[in-house]
């Protein structure tokens, strides 16, 4: 008998009865990691918390059975359910900073789990157990550390505390809810290794909820793909990702940028329906599916089996699985551009207060090329981008656009210079003024740099929106009614409307779902092919994106450029140890499924 069994789970919105997830069934064996992957709105987090018998306020578990170690959680009374949580099945949250009580010391927050479940007969026993589990997650056990408050720990340390909380009472099942969101690649690798070790050591089954397929490749033995509240496919990771039997699985994998090869981004037309807007009958993916036939819109597909433990909920599953390579076609090769520098940076130094963040950066962006700046958080890449565009007040050195030196602040620069640099921000939910229409936002550069009349501006705005594949009617709407992908396209339209020479993109897709990210990247590719003179400075931490979009790459670390080169060369033959480590720590969807002894390249004590 599996240690965790879910059958026919249905969770609904309490007020309306609309389902968040419907008919979800799976099982997990002891020591196994099952991944649940889906995009936002798919219901994956709901499945995770349901495994603890918990429904977020506003929702309710409507049907199904959830068995942990033989115990049906939904049949328990509230006291027994409380005892099961933390003890039988535990939870590692997405945001460790918010999940720890800011007013309680670390020691107390770990101890209360033991106290609630009457683990350990005496204070000393509990203390010993706490020190043991903190050692297992590689945190210090000194008294001084235990007495700290959560805000005195780094993000990685906070997450380790949450892992310790989950394992301290020796549960049978652990639910991980996107636990490495917000952590950079190196910390993420450490955290994943720790989780893998603990699960293996104590024979704990794990349910790993995420939107990041690459992470699962190295971690989960089996994976379940969820779309719009229903299961699409469930099976061994290598098979589902390598040769998926469901159109959505295939599309998802095709949309992922991968550091191992330069590929085109596969996109999915349309958007995922949220609870309440889902089709009443038939397969939920049908409206966006290229394999769909008439049946698909009418009847919900039953599961089709493939070998041991591999199921797909699609009428044409067999055909899909047999079809050729899931991964997208090889993309257009990187451009080799001539020597026509449009943006030159020389010996750029920048500081926040006393702390020096950029320690002498020099680079040169050629006309028509896409130069990627890649680095982890703290590398200074965003500071550099902000210095170039004039948002950073405290930099020294030389920045030139077409030979003309730039003043420190944007405001001090002449209009043609400001016009020549376009900037797209990271957060599409913050880069548009919620009180202004889309049209107002796109028109702002036009009003500043041209003296076109209202009618002309309206026309120009319409054209800019069409260029980013948005309908012109959207100009009258407010950002609150747009999706993340739409907003980011508006931001791109705004940046391009006055035809700048250089477009600087600062992590523009980190806040977006994988398929939406693919759409934006395709858009950028198209814009570049239409406008050969447009030069792109692409700042990101995502090595996969870099591989597929950049002509040249600079790697930044702690305020310096540590390596530069053409994309393919850098990825295939990295020169510096840091670059090699970065590549090794970056999970890839194409990786082979691991045995439990695989550890990341740089396993060190946590910072």
């Amino acid at each position: 008998m599996s240690v965790a069994e879910v059958d026919g789970l249905r969770v609904v919105i309490a007020a309306t009865g609309d389902d968040i997830v419907e008919d979800i069934s799976f099982s997990i064996e002891s020591g196994e990691v099952l991944g649940i992957v889906g995009e936002s709105g798919s219901g994956k987090t709901t499945i995770g918390t349901a495994l603890l018998g918990y429904a977020r306020p506003g929702s309710r578990i409507d049907a199904g059975t959830i068995r942990i170690d033989g115990v049906d959680l939904l049949a328990l009374d509230s006291l027994a359910l409380r005892k099961a949580r933390g003890n039988l099945v535990s939870y590692i949250p997405q945001d460790p900073g918010a999940a720890l009580n800011p007013a309680l010391r670390i020691f107390e927050q770990v101890e209360e789990v033991l106290a609630a479940h009457r683990v350990g007969a005496s204070d000393q026993e509990r203390r010993a157990r706490i020190e043991q589990v903190l050692g297992e997650v590689k945190l210090p056990t000194a008294r001084e550390f235990l007495r700290r408050f959560p805000h005195q720990l780094s993000g990685g340390q906070q997450q380790r505390v949450c892992i310790a909380l989950a394992f301290v009472a020796l549960p049978k099942v652990v639910v991980l809810d996107e636990p490495t969101t917000g952590l950079d690649v190196t910390t993420q690798a450490h955290v994943l290794a720790t989780v893998r070790d603990l699960c293996a050591k104590h024979g704990v089954a794990a349910l790993y909820v995420t939107h990041d397929l690459a992470v699962l490749s190295g971690l989960a033995q089996r994976v379940m793909v969820v779309y719009a509240g229903r299961a699409a496919e469930l099976g061994p990771t290598a098979q589902v990702f390598g040769a998926g039997a469901h159109p959505y699985s295939r599309k998802l994998v095709a949309a992922i940028p991968d550091p191992s090869a330069r590929r085109e981004f596969g996109t999915i037309p349309g958007t995922a329906p949220s609870p309440g807007a889902r089709p009443e009958q038939g397969c939920r993916f049908a409206p966006r599916c290229e394999w769909a036939v008439e049946r698909c819109a009418a009847i919900v597909p039953p599961s089709v089996g493939f070998g041991t433990d591999h199921r797909s909920w699609c009428f044409r599953a067999a055909e899909v699985q047999a079809s050729s390579a899931a991964l997208g076609a090889a993309a257009a090769p990187a451009r080799t551009v001539g020597h026509a520098p449009v943006l030159e940076v020389e010996d750029l130094h920048a500081a926040y207060g006393d702390e020096e963040v950029l320690k002498g950066i020099s680079l040169s962006l050629q006309r028509g090329e896409c130069l990627a700046i890649v680095g982890e958080s703290g590398s200074g890449k965003t500071t550099m981008a902000r210095s170039i565009v004039g948002l950073m007040p405290n930099w020294s050195g030389s920045i030139r656009v077409d030979g003309q030196a730039l003043a420190t602040r944007a405001r001090s620069r002449p209009a043609e210079v400001r016009r020549s640099l376009g900037y797209v921000f990271q957060n599409p939910f913050a880069s548009l003024n919620p009180r202004k229409t889309v049209g107002d936002a796109v028109a702002m550069p036009l009003r500043e740099f041209t003296d076109k009349g209202r009618a002309e501006i309206r026309v120009a705005v319409g054209e800019a929106l069409e260029r980013v594949s948005l309908p012109t009617a959207i100009a009258l709407r407010y950002p609150a009614h747009l999706s993340g992908g739409e907003r980011q396209r508006v931001a791109i339209a705004r940046a391009l409307v006055t035809e700048p020479k250089v477009l600087i993109c600062d992590e523009i897709t980190s806040a977006l779902d994988v398929s939406v990210q693919a759409t934006i990247m395709r858009l950028l590719e198209r814009l570049r092919s239409e406008e050969q003179q447009l030069s792109l400075l692409f700042v990101t931490h995502n090595l996969g994106l870099v591989r597929s979009v950049a002509d040249r790459v600079h790697v930044m670390h702690l305020g310096e450029i540590v390596e530069r080169g053409e994309t393919n060369q850098l990825f295939e033959a990295p020169q510096r140890a840091y670059t090699r480590g970065l590549l090794a720590d970056t999970p890839s969807v194409l990786a082979t499924p691991t045995s439990k002894s695989d550890l990341p390249a740089r396993a060190q004590l946590a910072p």
Binding site: T271, K436, L470, L476
Partner: protein
């Protein structure tokens, strides 16, 4: 494979700016409706009262503390003047001073708050320091002090009350401005190089409209309280002119015999204060902020 992302048409496009949308939503809440039902009649009385008053408010027409009769529907006050007429005449000064004081406080407070929040340098420190100093003084006590020394001039009272509002409004404005000023949409405007004043008024101010609107109603309630209290203590419009606050004080002695001399002005003040407050509460509720309303005022 199409690369066009089909525009989501889940909700019909709303053309109204959020500001209007929230006002309209507020009008639908019970609180705002009751608030308007209380406030509008009072305002009508204040504006039209003097035109329909049966008697002059200054000359006695019946015996002191006379009971309600045909001549004086609400009876007579301490020296026999018609309570009804005095009530109809007595609201004007209270109400205009309230609006003027609040509005003045807001103009100053918003200006200071915007500049302090946007500047984020020594200018901010100086302005915040000045505001903190003003906040250190207890309002009523200081108001009484100045007015008792310099005389009950109406403009003085208005200015003093405005001065008690300005620092709090400045604090709120500064707080919201600080939240907004780091937003990427403000930075987008800075990258383009839009002039500072244009950013303040065009980008930042529209985001303040709702919290400021709610705050205005709350502050107006407070203005009513302090101005009416000052009139009650004798530091408003001087006798023999009619004034609600003063009426309450004048007619207190005869409360047992003739309660209307006190009840009429009290009812009017109470209706106005409660009504304005409810309107603000209704807007806050429409924005989903009513639970945390008191909580926000602290910071």
């Amino acid at each position: 494979m199409a690369t066009v992302d089909v525009t989501r048409l889940a909700k019909p496009p709303t053309l109204a700016p959020q500001r209007l949308a929230s006002l309209r939503a507020a009008l639908r809440t019970g609180r705002t409706r009751i608030g308007l039902a209380l406030t509008v009649p009072v305002l009508l009385i204040v504006i039209l009262g003097p035109l329909v008053a049966p008697h002059t408010p200054i000359e006695p027409v019946v015996a002191p503390y006379a009971s309600p009769s045909g001549d004086a529907l609400l009876g007579g006050d301490a020296i026999g003047r018609d309570v009804l007429s005095r009530a109809l005449w007595g609201g004007w000064s209270v109400v205009w001073m309230c609006f003027a004081a609040t509005a003045l406080g807001f103009v100053v407070g918003i200006a200071v708050g915007l500049i302090a929040g946007y500047a984020r340098n020594w200018v901010d420190d100086v302005l915040t320091g000045a505001m903190d100093v003003l906040l250190a003084f207890p309002a009523i006590v200081m108001a009484l002090l100045f007015v008792s020394m310099l005389g009950p001039k109406l403009w003085l009272i208005t200015v003093i009350v405005a001065v008690t509002h300005a620092p709090r409004v400045a604090r709120l404005t500064r707080g919201v401005t600080l939240e907004v000023v780091h937003s990427e949409f403000v930075e987008a405007a800075e990258v383009i190089g839009v002039a500072r004043w244009r950013i303040l008024l065009g980008q930042i101010l529209p985001n303040l409209s709702t919290p400021l609107l709610i705050e205005f109603t709350m502050r107006l309630t407070w203005s009513i309280a302090i101005i009416a209290a000052m009139s009650f203590l004798g530091y408003g419009i001087q006798p023999p002119d009619a004034n609600w606050g003063l009426m309450i004080n004048e007619n207190r002695q005869g409360l047992v015999v003739q309660p209307w001399g006190v009840l009429a002005p009290i009812a009017l003040i109470a209706a106005f204060a409660v009504g304005v407050n409810l309107i603000g509460e209704g807007i806050a509720r429409a924005m989903g902020q009513d639970d945390t309303l008191a909580y926000r005022e602290l910071s």
